[in-house]
């Protein structure tokens, strides 16, 4: 059974039908890429999974539990972390406070301290700046903080919404390396990206989203060589 299953999802903003029919599944241990042009509905899909938006119809199941019947604040403790589009770190709080909020649903201080230590290990920059106000970090550091904050909940799956947005090419490569590392450490990843080439290069499988519908899916390597994908998303 898949870890996360989305079936025939429909989401509206008022009368605007943003998601018309989206189905996909994510298996334990995979990196799944969800690619599509601006406005295709990628962010809406992720927001509906984590309860920031209500679906009009369809089903979302995680670990056998119906997510649509789960109160939003309980979704995190089930093992889902969401690194939102635009990072949305708490700009006025310190780096440390941001990380602690990432562990909001956890209660064992020893385990939280262990997670914090491993985040600081992976990102020494965050350790150096732990008492700094997060809004003063550079864009790259803020992305590292957003990913670390999500890791602090010790998730089974991480949903990442355009983690490479607005970063220099060097940082983009670093971000994708980190995503691969997180996955190798055992966390399943659902990656939303406009940078289709990079996303497909690290993903196991991928889905193409076009104006609220899945139009194509398959192993990431196949999509990398698919003519349609090449033309529309890889600029070849």
């Amino acid at each position: 059974m898949a870890l996360l299953t989305v079936e025939h999802l429909q989401v509206n903003y008022g009368v605007i039908k943003a998601i018309k029919d989206v189905s996909f599944e994510v298996n334990q241990g995979e990196i799944i890429a969800l690619i599509g042009a601006n406005g295709a509905g990628k962010t809406t899909t992720l927001h509906t999974i984590t309860g920031l938006l209500q679906a009009r119809a369809g089903r979302i199941t995680f670990d056998g539990v119906d997510l649509m019947k789960t109160p939003p604040h309980k979704i995190v403790s089930m093992g889902i972390a969401h690194v939102p589009e635009g990072r949305r770190i708490f700009q006025q709080l310190s780096v440390y406070d941001n990380l602690r909020l990432g562990a909001y649903t956890r209660s064992n201080p020893r385990e939280i301290a262990d997670s914090l230590a491993s985040v600081y290990d992976r990102f020494p920059r965050l350790k150096e700046r732990r008492n700094q106000i997060a809004g003063t970090l550079s864009g790259g550091e803020q992305q590292m903080l957003a990913m670390s904050r999500a890791l602090m909940s010790r998730p089974k799956i991480m949903l990442m919404d355009e983690p490479s947005m607005g970063l220099s090419p060097l940082l983009v490569s670093e971000v994708f390396d980190i995503i691969r590392e997180i996955n190798e450490d055992g966390t399943t990843v659902l990656l939303v990206e406009q940078n289709a080439k990079k996303a497909l290069s690290i993903a196991d499988r991928a889905y193409v989203l076009e104006t609220g519908r899945i139009t194509l899916s398959g192993p990431a390597v196949d999509l990398l060589h698919n003519d349609q994908v090449k033309k529309a998303y890889l600029g070849e």
Partner: protein, 292 residues
């Protein structure tokens, strides 16, 4: 010597404003709304203490507890019934609702207690403190100031050192992101209203002890002044509300003492306008965080 007693009177008056302003600013920070009914919670608190003291055998602490509990329940219910359904709609609709709630509370008090001012019970017999030959400080002033300082310290600790405090800061900055951390946003907002209303009950107590009379409109002027204090200190800023409230009380009392009783409110507002001209975000108002 009269300067010092004026100053202490101002600090004590300012403490009442600060307690109310704290509620205004915390609710504004978290719910992004101006709760214009907040002043009337003070009145409800004062009348509850008044009623409880005269009917429950006169134990002052039981009466105060009744006031606190009533205000907390009222504040939380108001949010759930009147404001929560409007979350996400236009700020103007919320503002008008808050004004409606304010009139509603005043009317209910008018129906129950009538329009004549009632004498507030002397809950404690506090003797004035005499320093030197002619400096006399009212016991109520000392208690008001002392208790307010303790409450302020408590609020600062709560906000900065506890998990619920961090959750409040997170919700006030970005509700969606806070929810993604697993914060129960509705509960956090309820807790904020509860704290603000409890502070209003304490303000109602001190108002009654200071002015000795209460009526259905008792809350409205202190409410407006406390709102001014919150803006003066920087709306949304907790230390700002504290400093703004205290300064406002001191300015008001010194104006009464040295310039004119009639002009004192005018002077208070003139100072507010001056501060906002020089620093539009108020004394401790937050800079808008730069986005990278």
């Amino acid at each position: 010597m009269s300067f010092i007693s004026n100053l202490i009177g101002g600090l004590s008056l300012g403490s009442i404003y600060a307690l109310i302003a704290l509620g205004y600013t915390m609710v504004y920070g978290i719910a992004k709304m101006l709760n214009f009914a907040h002043g009337d919670i003070i009145m409800v608190g004062a009348f509850t203490i008044f009623t409880a003291a005269s009917s429950l055998g006169g134990n002052p602490f039981v009466a105060i507890l009744c006031g606190l509990v009533t205000c907390v329940i009222l504040g939380v219910l108001t949010e759930k019934i009147a404001y929560k359904p409007l979350r996400g709609s236009s700020p103007l609709a919320v503002l008008i609702t808050a004004i409606g709630v304010s009139y509603f509370l005043q009317s209910v008090a008018l129906l129950i207690f009538g329009s004549t001012q009632r004498p507030f019970p002397k809950l404690f017999s506090l003797s004035p403190i005499r320093i030197g030959k002619d400096l006399v400080i009212k016991g109520e002033s000392i208690v008001t100031l002392g208790v307010t300082l303790v409450i302020m310290a408590g609020i600062m600790l709560l906000i900065n050192k506890t998990k619920i405090g961090k959750a409040m800061l997170a919700v006030s900055e970005d509700k969606g992101a806070a929810q993604l951390m697993g914060v129960n946003v509705n509960r956090t907002i309820s807790i904020t209203f509860a704290i603000g209303s409890a502070l209003a009950a304490v303000a109602g107590l001190f108002y009654g002890l200071t002015y000795n009379f209460i009526g259905p409109y008792t809350g409205s002027m202190p409410g407006i002044k406390a709102f001014v204090a919150a803006v003066f200190g920087g709306i949304g800023s907790i230390p700002g509300a504290m400093i703004g409230g205290i300064l406002l009380g001191v300015i008001e009392n010194l104006s009464k003492g040295y310039i004119s009783t009639e002009l004192s409110d005018g002077i208070v507002f003139a100072v507010l306008i001056l501060v906002l001209l020089i620093k539009p975000t108020g004394l401790l108002g937050k800079k808008i965080a730069e986005k990278v």
